[in-house]
């Protein structure tokens, strides 16, 4: 078969299919949360952002807090988060999401405020704002997407890039003697007294997704306690910049990423502090 024959549509075959089921005949087992905007996302196939967006919006939907939640989007791949999340949002300058969130939360302490930040945004240019916000125990939830590269600018080295990992700005692999070791944000921030709940999760398997959802739910539920900052670090897949297929990227997380970034809770609240839940 020539190439032309392959790509040119031929005549549509007439299939003899049974009549369609009506909507009532189906049981709804899964739906897109009502708190999401009904639109097509710009994320690459296999990217973690779309999944985590959905998880956050599921939490917002389940908690019934759409009217009282304000999100802060970063500069990075998720700069357009406000195109997908059907809540009031602010787009912050690169790295400044935690300062912006501080301004929002301090004026409206009863609202739910979260930031959504990548590793370049949070761990490089914005680490001061992040650290000080957590140190003040700002009652916000920080969702930290760690995929070990700068995604939006197409795959440069991030503070979280693994040792030896190839990126466009570390073409021979990250040289730890030259650039230092990857920053373990969750462990670092958990040392601050203002951190209330710190966990690291991933979304590369169904179980991992469920655990991440639970972590996000906790982080949001703790906000009205006014006990401090919740940080949910999520190891995100970035097949495009890792030059992998989505399946390879998921495997890469299990086989490589978690060596540097082990999953699990790093700081959990005292039972006493959360007993009303």
């Amino acid at each position: 078969m020539s190439i032309d024959q392959h790509i040119l549509p031929g005549p549509v075959p007439v299939l003899n299919l049974p009549p369609c089921h009506t909507e009532e005949e189906y049981e709804m087992v899964y739906h897109k949360p009502s708190t999401m905007v009904d639109t097509t996302m710009h994320y690459c196939p296999g990217c973690a952002h779309s999944l985590v967006h959905k998880l956050i919006m599921e939490v917002v939907e389940e908690m019934g807090i759409q009217e009282t939640t304000i999100g802060v989007a970063p500069v990075g791949c998720s700069v357009f988060a406000y195109d997908y999340m059907d809540i009031d949002m602010q787009e912050a300058a690169h790295g400044r999401a935690c300062a912006v969130a501080t301004g929002i939360k301090r004026l409206m302490p009863d609202k739910y405020v979260f930031t959504y930040q990548g590793d370049g945004d949070l761990a490089a240019i914005g680490i001061a704002e992040t650290l000080h916000a957590i140190n003040r125990g700002e009652n916000i939830c920080i969702v930290f997407m760690n995929n070990a590269v700068y995604g939006m600018t197409s795959g440069q080295m991030a503070p979280t890039t693994l040792p030896g990992m190839h990126t466009t700005t570390s073409p021979d692999g990250r040289d730890v003697s030259y650039y230092g070791a990857p920053i373990k944000v969750a462990e670092l921030m958990a040392n601050l007294p203002g951190a209330f709940y710190v966990t690291r999760q991933s979304v590369n398997s169904a179980n991992a997704v469920r655990r991440t959802k639970k972590a996000l739910l906790n982080a949001f539920k703790y906000q009205p306690l006014h006990k401090g900052t919740c940080l949910v670090e999520i190891i995100g897949n970035c097949p495009s910049n890792w030059k992998m297929t989505p399946v390879e990227a998921s495997k890469f997380i299990d086989e490589e990423m978690i060596k540097t970034f082990p999953l699990g809770d790093i700081k959990i609240p005292n039972a006493e502090d959360i007993k009303i839940y």
């Binding site: 009031d88 949002m89 787009e91 300058a93 301004g103």
Partner: protein, 356 residues
């Protein structure tokens, strides 16, 4: 009779912020304006307002962004090096059309410079400072009284145009004490519900604050909308003061502290029989080009006096457009010209232009 208080310019500004209903102040200590944060740290909690010492000026301007984006009356203040750090945030605030008040108690630069008064941040204030096409309304107080009055005015203009307003003061006006009267103030009612991020009720679409318009077509539409706003500002908000212009043959142009010094120089010069007047721009953006253009038909020469190497003089020349000579005299480094020194320079210039 009016009730006066004796206050530093910085303190008067802080008190006026409280009276103007400022919901939140975010700042970082820097001489010569640390009194503002100190005063508000003491007084704001008494009014259940938010005051916060941020970890940097970068953080404080972004906290302003967040709070202003949520619809609150918000301000920050700093001095030159700190204002430089804020430029990124100011550009975002202008791009996202957030109303807020920023105060620069100008010290001398560049770099760490010195803590003494300066006007070297003129260009930064009126020509941009941060990236992109934007303008701030820039108010230049010349007294402690104006340090207070312009806080109300600044907040109101910010709300009116959904634009950041900069009050460009200097170390001397900030540090000196004069008597000040806090006039009764009625805050205009402004509805911010159409854009403020206060949480999305079912009844409306989501509000989002952003300066990002990635498609060039949409970005240009946004740029044009901003330009239209700046045009409105240029048409309606020009403010200036003029003294002795009726019979003037010469004109001082000066703002802030320089205008105060020039007033004294004007008195001395007039005693010597030189008919000189003073034009003091109160808004540095929008600038009183039109008035300068008119005065250019009347006077023989203008002298711009500034605490810098000659910045505002370029705007004077734009207004005058070559009609009469526009000269410059300035001191830098935190040094200030004495009135006598200015008069001496003026006399030399008059002689020079007469000869030529």
């Amino acid at each position: 009779m009016a009730e006066f208080k004796l206050m530093k310019g910085n303190e008067a500004m802080a008190e006026a912020a409280i009276l103007a209903g400022c919901d939140a102040y975010f700042g970082y200590p820097i001489t010569p304006q640390s009194e503002v944060l100190e005063y508000l740290a003491r007084e704001m909690p008494k009014h259940n307002r938010i005051v916060m010492q941020a970890e940097s000026e970068v953080a404080s301007i972004n906290m302003v962004y967040g709070a202003a984006g949520a619809g609150f009356r918000t301000m920050t203040s700093s001095s030159s090096p700190g204002i430089s750090l804020m430029q990124e945030g100011i550009s975002y605030i202008a791009g996202a059309e957030l109303p807020c008040l920023i105060v620069n108690v100008n010290r001398a630069g560049p770099g760490l410079g010195t803590i003494q008064p300066g006007q070297g941040d003129y260009f930064q204030s009126v020509k941009g400072g941060g990236h992109g096409d934007y303008k701030m309304i820039v108010l230049a107080p010349a007294s402690v009284q104006e340090m207070a009055d312009f806080v109300y005015l600044g907040f109101d203009l910010a709300d009116k145009y959904r634009n950041p307003v900069l009050m460009l003061s200097d170390g001397a006006i900030g540090q000196m004490m004069e008597k000040v009267e806090f006039k009764p103030y009625t805050r205009p009612v402004v509805d911010k519900s159409a854009w403020a991020t206060t949480g999305k009720p079912k009844s409306r679409n989501r509000n989002y604050i952003t300066s990002l318009f990635i498609q060039p077509e949409r970005m240009e539409v946004h740029n044009l909308k901003l330009e239209e706003k700046f045009k409105q500002i240029r048409e309606h908000e020009v403010r200036f003061e003029e003294i002795n212009t009726t019979d003037a043959e010469y004109l001082f142009v000066a703002y802030g502290l320089s205008a105060r010094i020039c007033q004294k120089a004007m008195d001395i010069a007039r005693e010597k029989g030189i008919n000189i007047a003073l034009l003091r721009p109160i808004t540095l953006y929008p600038y009183p080009y039109q008035r300068l253009h008119e005065l250019a038909s009347q006077v023989k020469m203008m002298l711009s006096v500034e605490l810098n190497s000659g910045q505002m003089v370029e705007d004077v020349r734009l207004g005058v457009n070559g009609k009469v000579p526009v000269e410059f005299y300035g001191r830098m480094g935190g040094m200030m010209p004495t009135p006598e020194e200015i008069v001496h320079h003026l006399e030399t210039l008059i002689q020079y232009h007469h000869v030529n």
